[in-house]
């Protein structure tokens, strides 16, 4: 029995890791700068621009209010445009990225907000440019918080990727639904859940360790 389930599990785990890792990489590349933008354009901040801040903020809120399963289906035309197909593991990455960008943006914004404003003032008094303030003060000082927040995002992505089965994305969630639930194989269901738990624990552990190592406060 175990020998039969194992290949299924490894394949599904591989698909989950692939979806989460690629989505996370792309979403962070956009989401971290988005968080910086959300913070620095707010009132009283170094690049204050209320119009941009409110516009971007509204878009972020709008995307975040759409449940993932609906977002995934709603953007099928966009997905098809980008990856050429609306089904499959790679296709699932598009909605995962789109859902994660605003999430990461808000999380990063929250972390940066916790950097004491005195540090920004001190950097300004030394003649730092806004870019230097972002790259040498805000991001390094917020880094432990950002790492913790990104850990949370990865775990949320593992959860969301389970819904990818709805568009043929595969992964652990899909395995659990199709084999464990629809084919009445509780042992597959159990194995999947155990793998998910271990995966999430591992991500959390690595995230915590890294954040702690970065935190010199």
């Amino acid at each position: 029995m175990f020998a039969e389930v194992l290949p299924l599990l490894t394949k599904a785990l591989g698909e989950t890791i692939y979806m989460v890792a690629v989505s996370m990489a792309i979403a962070s590349a956009v989401g971290v700068p988005l968080g910086v933008l959300l913070h620095t354009t707010a009132k009283g901040q170094i690049l204050e621009n209320i119009f941009i801040n409110q516009t971007v903020g509204s878009v972020v809120n709008a995307i975040r209010s759409i449940p993932f399963i609906i977002l995934m289906v709603a953007i099928i035309p966009l997905t098809r445009l980008i990856v050429g197909s609306a089904i499959g593991t790679t296709a699932a990455i598009v909605p995962l990225v789109i859902a994660s960008i605003p999430f990461i943006g808000r999380q990063v914004e929250t972390s940066i907000k916790e950097v004491p404003s005195g540090l920004v003032e001190a950097a300004q008094s030394m003649g730092a440019t806004p870019f230097q303030i972002i790259s040498r003060v805000l991001l390094p000082e917020a880094m432990p918080g950002i790492v913790s927040q990104l850990t949370t995002v990865i775990i949320a992505l593992v959860g969301e990727s389970a819904m990818a089965g709805a568009i043929g994305g595969g992964g652990l969630g899909d395995l659990a639904i199709r084999y464990g639930y629809q084919r009445f194989r509780p042992e597959v269901m159990l194995a999947t859940v155990v793998v998910l738990i271990v995966l999430v624990q591992l991500v959390q552990f690595v995230g915590n360790t890294l954040a702690k190592k970065l935190d010199k406060r």
Binding site: P116, L119, M126, G127, Q132, P140, E141, P144, R217
Partner: protein
């Protein structure tokens, strides 16, 4: 070195406009330590931030080293700020960087090579006495050590001016003393112009040459520290000084009725303030010798010094015939000493413990 003229600062707040600075004129000479003292909310922090344009004045001109700061473009302003070091009440060090990297920070901002940074930072670490802490993080340091890092960082860019915003307010008295001593040393050795913002008169007395007392957005009083200490004019100045130098009457007289006319068994209390060479002149001995019939009791005495100039404050009690007391007062008024007649006060019966 620094010239402020007609500085106004008006903030918009939800509850209306707040007029934080109301036409401040101030000149600070090259190489001096200038103190600005005021209660919280008086506008002193806003004022010091106008010097390096962290706060842009609503009206008025700011000249630092001959350069009009209010007309500079953003990039010119950033260049000008490199000539003005600043230290803060809460130190504002990067928690994610070591002591060394914190001090190197302004140099990294200007793209200095790491070899040149090393040449600059090592002597600064030595100057502030933290050579052995170079690789530690701010969280591992005491408050005084953090401020030393702040000072070293402020000096890294070879500024001409050092702004100290409540730099010792978060420190205990002993640490305050050592930080003030350090500021005095760098002022002297690097001929740095220093502006000190504080709410503690002790700080002004310890290191400042001149002082401005700011209250409600205007300068209430200004002058040399010695003059302001020995002859304060404004109510707020007197309050600041009274924290250091008590104006209370001695315990045996405190709370008793003060009369301007002689009453049975009372002493005429007189406060005397000596300064400079007069502080150790035998004025009282001369008075006792020349005004026979007036008895003089020493009730309170304190001899202090500001920048090496001694100044003394005494309360004496005069008794005797009215004419004798009057001639004693006349004698004192003829001397180089400030005489404040408090009035006739009876001594309370000695307290029994």
């Amino acid at each position: 070195m620094i010239k402020l003229s007609g500085i106004e600062k008006i903030y918009d707040s939800p509850s209306g406009k707040i007029h934080a600075l109301k036409g401040i004129d101030l000149e600070i000479a090259r190489g001096e330590i200038y103190g600005i003292i005021g209660l919280s909310g008086a506008g002193k922090s806003t004022l010091v931030r106008c010097i390096n344009m962290l706060e842009r004045p609503t009206a008025g001109k700011v000249f630092v080293d001959g350069q009009d700061m209010t007309t500079l473009t953003d990039s010119e302003l950033r260049a000008a700020r490199k000539n003005i070091g600043m230290i803060f009440q809460h130190f504002n060090l990067l928690s994610s960087a070591t002591v060394y990297d914190n001090i190197a920070f302004p140099l990294k901002l200007s793209g200095t090579s790491s070899a040149d940074i090393e040449k600059k930072v090592r002597p600064l670490l030595k100057l502030v006495g933290l050579s052995d802490k170079a690789d530690q993080y701010p969280a591992q340091l005491s408050g005084g050590q953090k401020q030393r890092v702040g000072i070293a960082r402020a000096l890294a860019g070879d500024p001409k001016v050092l702004l100290c915003d409540e730099a010792t307010s978060a420190l205990d008295p002993q640490t305050t003393k050592s930080i003030l001593d350090l500021i005095k040393v760098i002022n002297h050795n690097l001929s740095l112009t220093v502006v000190v913002i504080t709410h503690e008169m002790q700080v002004i007395k310890e290191i400042c040459d001149r002082v401005a007392v700011i209250s409600d957005g205007v300068i209430a009083e200004r002058g040399s520290v010695l003059d302001v200490f020995t002859n304060p004019q404004h109510r707020i100045t007197k309050e600041f000084i009274s924290v250091l130098l008590s104006n209370d009457l001695p315990a045996a007289f405190r709370g008793n009725e003060i009369s301007q006319d002689p009453t049975e068994g009372s002493l005429l209390l007189v406060r005397l303030i000596f300064k400079g060479d007069r502080a150790d002149d035998p004025v009282l001995a001369k008075m006792i010798r020349s005004c026979t019939g007036a008895e003089c009791t020493m009730l309170f005495g304190n001899l202090d010094e500001i920048h090496g100039v001694p100044f003394g404050r005494f309360i004496i009690g005069l008794s005797g015939r009215d004419e004798a007391i009057q001639s004693a007062l006349n004698f004192l008024n003829g001397q180089e000493v400030r005489v404040e007649v408090i009035g006739y006060v009876r001594r309370s019966p000695a307290a029994v413990d």
